[in-house]
């Protein structure tokens, strides 16, 4: 009797889980930041995952078949857009998922560094403007709104739930932004050096300027002249902070440190996890690091 009771309960238990699982909307995202925001807006009605890892170079992702399989079982795909994640198109196509709702999260984002005709010589890594827009918390709200609209469309029944999550997200973001701005205002020299131009929106959000980049062109190591110019810029502006994405080699930052004393900070341009607080936690981490 006990044996059967146990089996019966197990089946009910598992079936219950299965039902929960079946009811959850599966959201795939190119980056953990988008997934994190989606987790907040969708709450317990969604399950999110990210294709790219937070500490990887999201411009270049090797598209593995397993990604296509995962996306084939998803309901929504959140793209960064602005030509950052063109590899996502390969995954989406390969997934052959006719029921996939693709959301370009760059909708309504005020784009910085839009290329003029003269810039096309510089290569086409950022051919539609700088795509690292999630690094301005204010843009996080716009991303959340894009996700909200998509969720309401495919699951109108829970529209109120999603909308109330969105309103909480908006409020929380605005509150935290005040806090972050206060912390960042304590930085004396408002100029930074970057490795790649990931931090333009971050700088914009907190009143900073990025005065130079180690990487003159993606994939090309800096020339002697460029290094010399960077040294001059750093010294003449007394720049103290260098933001280095963790996937770049250390030799350039260490060299600049030896020559000028500028401090390299290894900070990933994306959060690592996909939970609802990860987007915020990432800002906390970065800001605490560079204001300490």
């Amino acid at each position: 009797m006990k044996k059967y009771l146990f089996s019966f309960l197990s089946v009910v238990f598992l079936a219950g889980f299965n039902m929960l699982d079946a009811a959850q909307i599966k959201i795939a995202a190119s980056l953990p930041d988008l997934a994190s925001i989606a987790s907040y807006i969708g709450g317990d009605k969604v399950e999110t995952f990210s294709i790219a890892r937070g500490n990887a170079n999201s411009h270049y992702i090797e598209v593995l078949p397993s990604y296509m399989i995962r996306v084939s079982r998803a309901n929504v795909y959140l793209k960064v857009g602005l030509a950052l994640d063109q590899w996502a198109d390969d995954i989406i196509q390969g997934s052959r998922n006719g029921k996939l709702t693709v959301v370009d999260c760059s909708g309504d984002i005020p784009v910085l560094e839009k290329p003029t005709k003269a810039d096309s010589i510089l290569g086409d890594v950022h051919s539609q403007g700088n795509p690292h827009y999630w690094l301005n918390p204010a843009n996080g709200i716009i991303i959340a709104n894009n996700i909200l609209n998509a969720l309401i469309k495919i699951d109108p029944e829970n529209g109120e739930y999603y909308r109330s999550n969105f309103n909480r997200f908006k409020q929380e973001t605005e509150n935290r932004l005040i806090n972050w701005k206060d912390k960042m205002s304590r930085i004396e020299v408002k100029k930074l050096i970057g490795y790649h131009s990931s931090w333009v929106y971050f700088a914009d959000a907190f009143g900073l300027t990025i005065s130079g980049y180690i990487e003159p062109l993606p994939g090309i190591p800096p020339t002697g002249k460029h290094l010399s110019e960077l040294i001059n810029i750093i010294k003449s502006n007394d720049i103290k902070i260098l933001l280095q994405e963790p996937y770049f080699p250390d030799d350039g930052p260490k060299f600049l440190y030896r020559q000028t004393g500028i401090k390299p900070f290894k900070v990933a341009p994306s959060c690592i996890g996909t939970g609802k607080d990860e987007y915020f936690r990432h800002f906390d981490e970065v800001i605490n690091k560079i204001t300490s």
Binding site: N57, P222, T223, S228, D251
Partner: protein
Amino acid sequence: MLIFQYHFVILALILCVILTGIHTYLGYHVVRRGVIFVDLSLAQVAALGASVGILLGFGADTYPVQNYLISLSFTFLGAILFVLFRKIHDKVPVEAFIGITYAAAIALSLLVLEKSATGTEDIKEMLTGTILTVSPKELGFIAILYSLIGVIHWLSRKKLLLVTEDFELAQKKGLKIWWWDFVFYATFGFVVTSSVKVAGVLLVFAFLTIPTVSAIIATSGTTQSLIFGWIFGLAGCIGGLELSLRLDWSAAPTIITVYLILLIITLAIKKVHVLMCKKRCGDN
């Protein structure tokens, strides 16, 4: 000269001098043995070792010693392999196996690096190196290591040169070929592992082949070749660095380009010299 104006380039220049010194000499053995692919192959094996180190959690920046040792052990395994290649098959030239090793090492490196977040950047770095940003510490380490290796090679120079230049005579004289092969490939492996780390695979390959080939074209005899190679190598480095500063080009590719130009000039001068000699002497 701009080299002395951009004062940090002096470190890169000293590094080039050291690298030219050892690689021209090792390149002489490599070209004479006819195993050109060895250095590309071993360099890639070294890079594979570094990638495996990264995958195991010992990134080159955070755990430089561990990563270097892992890289080195891979290189030594490669060296042992190359020693054994002589014995595998008479009909297949050793070069073929070395080429296969090169392809295998690249393929495995790619597979390994795909699992790590930093993958693509590491692959790029393996190719172009970082001579402009070399640190005094790295430079010092290389200077000491290569001096030691230089001493080893100086002490065993007669035996090593004999195995390279006249294999059959070496056998007749009863030299333990496998041992001197191993000494060569193992020290070579040490050098390649360290050089690839700072100068990248391409520049190391250029250092190893172009000065020596020019020397063999232009001169005869071991000592003459080595001296010519060293002067050639040094001139190429200085010219390459200076040009890269004036034209705002990447350092490593510019040095290689200058080497190529000097090689073509050497070939041309030799051809002209031979032609003139024929004219003078050929009618007698």
